[in-house]
Subunit: 208 residues, 4 copies
DNA sequence: CATGAATGAGCCTTCATTCAT
DNA sequence: CATGAATGAAGGCTCATTCAT
């Protein structure tokens, strides 16, 4: 296991090698799943020897954590609400829905599926996911929604349940897509607009 | 592997033994997860020998399928929209939300978590889940929602996306609860009412 | 790992299999040493599969412990001072010297060499050896020697050091023989008489 | 592997580096044992890189040989019968017993334990030990003892067995001490006097 | 049908050793 | 000469599955 070297060039090399290994692991995991994948598979994919992996990662589980962190960093980079205008209610909501929907779709979805499976099963990973992704997102959005309530721009609903419902939709749709729903697959790009309307206006007819 | 005997008493015994094994497996899986559980664990829990399990199930994977089918049957029994009055828009929606929320919660949630993990990873199981649970539910609700549209009681939105969004909420909230969200855990019973309102009326303020 | 069955026939079979494995292990250990020997080597020698060994022994180390216990039982059977006449000073001393010298020589010496090496290195085994072999022997002999002192048949020396010295001779000679000393090898059978005289009368000339 | 340089300064440096490595190895071996110690452990202890060790030693086994030689040199330095007065029978015997007892005790005993374990298992080391330590000592003492016999100061016993018995006592007591005998541990310093008397005068009472 | 001992393929991991820089 | 990243062989151990009793 390589400890971060003070030497910046060394650090660069180490980071590069770690990324190389993680990329290989991510690829093979996405194809075969976590458990069916052997260290040899990953090493072969990365073009290195089995043992080399253990210079950079404690064990197989650490690879998954590494991938998780990489993905989290990437998603966090892509999903960034701080640049949004909180006064633009519709725009904010649209972005709030659209960004995760895009981030966890497409080429990332296979890997996310595998990670999600392990999240379901691995307590560490589960807590990590909750504390580092779900909870921060909810915490970030809460004051913004609260302001809208104060401004009477949205109904004075319970914010915590509301936020969980909205993020739940996103989550649930990603899951349904993972399950193989072809309708969602085909019309993924319509979802942000559609959901924004649905959430804002509801399903019910205006006429009583 | 037991081939279905014509003898009804035999069949009874076989079914009982299968259930005994499946219950044991479900218990141990829920505690330890699928992969960490060994056949010996299950046999011990069921009070039988390892080999006996193979008289009733092809292999370890078949146990999970069996559990899945059992759970599906139970959920299907509990979640039954056919007895609902389709003219009671609010009541139907409430039940549509409430029933799965109850069915997959509580003492079943640990096992569901484990099965979900395998669903994510096992194509067979995934397709089975989609074809036998998700898709039928959507198919069942679609004409009912369509009728409401025709009656102008709900907005003429795209039904397929609408249904996926609504079931997505349910799915997503179960997931967030599995992730360990204590808010949802504590206020699980408020969800049906809350969600029914939210879905019907939306988040937006009435005042433009 | 097989737990002792209440069924006496089962117990017989289990004991037989354990012995079979232990004998195979002893043979290969004696030839190649403990560490260089693989589980596969032992399994092959025993004519069984690798995994079978783990039905009967926790791990490789348990094999060594098992061999150690077997050898201890055998040596204890052979080295038995309780049948000796404690009034026969010379006879007792002769037997006290002779028995271990015979027991740990010949076909047993190769295995003893290997076990001794692990004793040197493995704290558990070391304590086991001390508590189960060395100490009991010393404790057994002490009252007998004390009686001789009381009877003024031997000098009133410190009994504990005396006993350790005598057993030390035995131990040391076995070691020197293990080291490959050909003189000892060739004249092993002279040792009991020779040592009995030496210990009783000492080296010094009678004439001052 | 460094070939001896003709340059004396080079040779000095090489010797120093070898000693540095050997000291580090000795320390770690004494703490963890030979097999459990990795080259990395030793390199870390010595404050150098893994690879550097291989410039000075063929392989891991050579480190043990090197330590063995170092220890042998040190012991040989400390245990030196040539300066003793061979006419002082008691004094010589006392020193003959005392010196090894001191040399292989105290801070050296842990390392000796480890080396002894490898001696038991490694034929090369075993022969080296016998030929370079045990046999020379015996050979050295033999003429001296023979002279005493000629002078009728000791009994005309078989010298070869006598010497082996005496060195066996020393050897055996060191072993018993290694085994964890607390009596010996506590009274180690009494041994030389005690043993000298015992060996010279024997255990038997003077009165017939 | 029930049993559970036996099987053996296969995986993670370690670590002595090498060698390009 | 020093470095330490890379290598890859090897081994202990697990466990799903089989099958003789």
């Amino acid at each position: 296991m390589v400890t971060p070297a003070p030497d910046p060039i060394q650090a660069q090399l180490i980071a590069a090698r770690r990324t190389q290994i993680l990329d290989a692991a991510a690829k093979v995991f996405a194809e075969k799943g976590f458990h069916p994948t052997t260290i040899k598979d990953i090493a072969k994919e990365a073009g290195i020897a089995d043992g080399t992996i253990y210079h950079y990662f404690e064990n197989k589980g650490a690879l998954l954590l590494g991938i998780f962190d990489h993905m989290r960093a990437a998603v966090t980079r892509e999903v960034n609400f701080t640049t949004l205008d909180p006064d633009d209610l519709r725009g904010f909501l649209h972005a709030f829905i659209s960004q995760p929907l895009q981030a966890l779709h497409a080429d990332r979805s296979e890997l996310f599926r595998i990670i999600l499976a392990e999240i379901m099963v691995n307590r560490d990973l589960r807590e990590r996911y909750y504390q580092q992704m779900l909870e921060p997102t909810l915490a970030l959005a809460e004051p913004i929604f609260a302001r809208w309530v104060a401004q009477r721009r949205i109904k004075p609903l319970d914010m915590r349940l509301t936020l969980r419902a909205i993020s739940g939709i996103i989550f649930g749709l990603i899951l349904e897509s993972i399950m193989g729903d072809t309708t969602l697959e085909a019309r993924w790009d319509e979802l942000p607009d559609f959901l924004t309307d649905l959430i804002l206006n509801g399903l019910g007819s205006d006429q009583p």
